[in-house]
Subunit: 87 residues, 2 copies
Amino acid sequence: MARVVVDVMLKPEILDPQGQAVQRALPRLGFEGISDVRQGKRFELEVDGPVDEATLGRIHDLAESFLANTVIEDFTVKVEEVAEAVK
Amino acid sequence: MARVVVDVMLKPEILDPQGQAVQRALPRLGFEGISDVRQGKRFELEVDGPVDEATLGRIHDLAESFLANTVIEDFTVKVEEVAEAVK
């Protein structure tokens, strides 16, 4: 069993009010020196069997069509440690 | 400028209805072989200056006190590629 992680973030040109709210709150909470915060989503998928090129391709399609809204969001697909041994 | 990523996920023992909704929808959409999905949050923090141990310590405190609800969530702090050259 392997874990594949899909990270979905708003595109850089899209306003991110959640991230901005966090960033503006930081100085008030005593944290300085952080110039920008973006907030996105992280999906951890547990995949049965080995993670080969075909599986990653399918997960890429899944992320593109279903997990991310590609009009406003970018996504990355990566295999996590357990799966790297399997590859 | 360096980027530090804070990933916040529900603890394994906490029910994740968002992730379950995704997982249950997958076979209907033609994606088989994914046995579990967990959904969490990803924060990308742009840090001014180098990311040293002290900075990472402060970001760890920030994540613990502000980005994550540690009663129900786990978090990880990691430095992304740009910053690894700085370290």
